[in-house]
Amino acid sequence: MTPSYRVIPDRLVSPFAKALKSWESLLLIVAVAIFIANALASPYFLNAWNLSDATFNFTEKAMIAFAMAMLIIAGEIDLSVAAIIALASTMMGVAMTMGFGTPVLVLVGLGTGLACGAFNGTIVARLGLPSIVVTIGTMSLFRGISYIILGDQAFTGYPADFAWFGQGYVVWVITVELVVFAALAVAFGVLLHRTSFGRQVYVIGNNPVAAQFSGVNVARVKFILFLLTGLMAGVAAVCLTSRLGSTRPSIATGYELEVVTMVVLGGVNILGGSGTIPGVVIAAFVMGLVTFGLGLLNVPGIVMSIFIGLLLIGVIALPRLWAMRRRRA
């Protein structure tokens, strides 16, 4: 009783048609609208140097957001990233007072990030504890160490060539940070969307049990993701410290929530399983444009964060409301 084999087509909808109807396309329209609104609202907006300055609103956070997006897609989260920045920056300050030069400072920054990521990853992946709890704990731990070392002091007087990362330009108005951001965007885009590692990330986020039952080393993938997130926090720490030229233990306070906001705004499901790097890139621009535009209009910071909050809830709720209306109709 062998039935004739049916030929199953590979796809019915082309990837391009899918992309057109995606969250990312909607977000892109929002980004363009905000850009136009900004250009109309302030005469200072359409200025290459001003726009270049505006990119600092998101570049450092976005670097972390790429790794965080992968972590959230895999069903985990790291709330200690801002604290990792503080600790990495503090360690760089310690290295500086010991007289080390820029290359060592950078290595110390990245190494601290990696070590923190490894610590989080070991506890979450090997012991199987919930990452939200673990990283709330390490959030206090990492920043606490930073406070112990610094107290109410600050490290200043970083070497002159160290300023290149956060204050330098590659060509014209293109900052070093923007180039790092772009390179990381491409690297993470490829990692998530073009490699088997990225595929395993989606599988784990969709169904961690089935992933394990399919021979995927779930703990290893999660560990690597925490490691990457720690490393990216280290990169952000180098850039931020270089840009500010000083380290205080309160550095980057609240960054973790802005990073998560960026990731979720970019269309990553907070429950894991779906989301894209292009979405996070667009979300980074949206958040940067909004903060910059409101800044040009002299809107105070607290109102800005209210606006960002409303934007987040708005863009997440709209498609849901839309779907509910269509279902009822």
């Binding site: 490699t195 595929r199 169904n207």
Partner: protein
């Protein structure tokens, strides 16, 4: 098989308590139901019969308010209605006991029964004493010997079904949908369920009974309705139909229900397991398995069969014991290592452990083979589609496209995806845990055929099954487990239904070993 063994002749022609007509429902790329009808009568059991993909699950979801039909009418006691939400369906007296029962593991039996409509005391707080009292009387009514204060997690699957049924009674449901209630039950539990169905009938409930097992359909159903490919094919009284006619309606062609005949070509010993033990689940498992052999594992639910298989597959760690492949000792500490050694496992819990429902078919199939379809870690989609196409077609998968999410497929087709996933890794030992549980007769035959083919190609096959005909029909040798231990190993003429049941139930007399 005796048609209609129950004596009670249904009363002449009562009005249906629930009538569906002209129901249609489409999903992207799939027309799940087109213009189907269904009638349920008070005090009668209606069996809904169909292959997987026939639309049975869809109609259940429409009846319980989870899906909205695109067209058609739902009438309750002759009055047109619609179920915009699950709550609306429950309020109208329709309740479902699902294949994978939807209950809350961390709540007590009583809380599960009364969730959403618990008896209230002063200040609107839940009256716990009253709830326990009512739960006790409901459980007594269905003859269930359960303590209402027990946490659900501590109960077996059969007891969970009883809780679900008590819940159905607690909301005074007029229509009870049972979606493959016996799929995971042991012999004795199935009998208790049949008695319960009789009680519900006596109380005048209309029961929709979904099952793939013809013996039970003929045993407890009064009426039948057959769907095929989303279409209504026929309905009537069970007493007026034969099994052959039903099968004909179901598949639209006659299906050979006999198991594939094979002349096993046994090769050298491939896998040897010695003294495998686990602190709580199983102890001292010893056997060896040859190439080309199908080894059946029979036992009651909870006998430790799945737990042992999962240890062999690296999900859990055995406390002692050794495993040899080709006479070389291998240590399997993870599923990754198991797959590397050529051991793969098709789990019983398809939805949770087998398929990744939110991802497309091709990504499910290639998941364990990504090392082969990718180059230096980079995905190659063309290779992935080619691999997925090859194996899904060999299993005769029914799907709109390979890019379709697995969650949109019927149970039998999801199972085919899971099997395709493992075959694409070219395994040496394949463990199938209840491979045909909850799938229709056509897919069942296809899976059996395929197992025979795999053994013929020199794979070693281990099949865990609770269906005696399947165990006897497919296996070259059967190991029976009880309470975590091997209690019998049967071959040839010793493989009889009686021997299996006796060994599994622990009846010592006359067990050949």
């Amino acid at each position: 098989m005796q048609p209609h063994a129950t004596g009670a002749e249904p009363s002449a022609h009562p009005d249906p308590v629930l009538r569906l007509s002209g129901i249609s429902k489409s999903f992207p790329g799939v027309r799940a139901l087109s213009d189907v009808a269904l009638e349920l009568y008070p005090g009668q059991v209606t069996a809904l019969i169909g292959e997987n993909g026939a639309g049975k699950s869809t109609i259940v979801k429409i009846l319980t308010g989870i899906y909205q039909p695109d067209a058609g009418v739902i009438e309750i006691a002759g009055v047109g209605t619609h179920f915009p939400t699950a709550q609306a369906a429950a309020k109208a007296g329709v309740t479902a006991i699902h294949q994978e029962t939807v209950l809350f593991d961390d709540l007590s039996v009583a809380e599960n029964i009364f969730i959403g409509h618990a008896p209230r005391g002063r200040f609107g707080l839940i009256d716990r004493a009253e709830m326990l009292r009512q739960a006790r009387s409901l459980l007594a009514r269905i003859g269930a010997d359960l303590d209402p204060a027990t946490r659900l997690r501590d109960l077996g699957i059969a007891s969970k079904h009883l809780v679900a049924i008590a819940r159905a009674l607690s909301i005074d449901a007029q229509v009870v949908i049972m979606d493959e209630p016996t799929a995971a039950l042991s012999h004795k539990e199935i009998h208790e369920l049949y008695e319960l169905v009789e009680r519900l009938k006596a109380e005048g409930k209309a029961i929709l009974f979904i099952s793939h097992k013809f013996d039970e359909i003929f045993r407890i159903a009064d009426r039948y309705t057959v769907f095929r490919d989303g279409q209504f094919i026929g309905a009537g009284r069970i007493a007026d139909v034969t099994e052959g006619a039903l099968v004909q309606m179901m598949v639209g062609r006659s299906v050979d229900q006999i198991f594939p005949k094979r002349a096993p070509q046994l090769g050298p010993v491939l896998l040897t397991v010695a003294g495998y033990s686990h602190p709580t689940e199983f102890a001292d498992i010893n056997f060896s398995l040859r190439q080309g052999e199908i080894l059946g594992f029979y036992g009651l639910i909870g006998a430790g069969r799945s737990e042992f298989m999962q240890a062999l597959f690296g999900i859990t760690k055995p406390s002692k014991g050794a495993c040899r492949i080709d006479d070389k000792v291998v240590v399997i500490r993870s599923t990754t290592e198991a797959v590397q050694h050529g051991i793969v496992y098709v789990p019983e819990d398809r939805g949770r452990q087998g398929a990744v429902k939110g991802l497309p078919i091709f990504q499910n199939v290639t998941l364990p083979s990504l090392g082969r379809t990718s180059r230096n870690g980079f995905l190659r989609l063309a290779e992935e589609f080619a691999l997925a196409r090859e194996y899904t077609q060999r299993l005769d998968l029914r799907a709109a496209s390979l890019d379709q999410d697995v969650g949109l497929l019927s149970g039998g087709n999801q199972q085919k995806v899971v099997i395709a996933k493992w075959l694409s890794t070219k395994p040496r030992v394949i463990i199938l845990d209840e491979p045909t549980k909850g799938i229709d007769i056509g897919s069942k035959a296809a899976v059996h055929e395929f197992m025979a083919e795999l053994a013929g190609q020199g794979l070693a096959v281990i099949m865990v099954s609770s269906e005696i005909p399947e165990v006897l029909g497919m296996s070259d040798r059967v190991i029976v487990m009880r309470e975590g231990r091997m209690v019998a190993e049967l071959t040839g003429d010793a493989m009889t239904p009686e021997a299996l049941v006796r060994a599994a139930a622990g009846i010592p007399a006359g067990v050949a070993a």
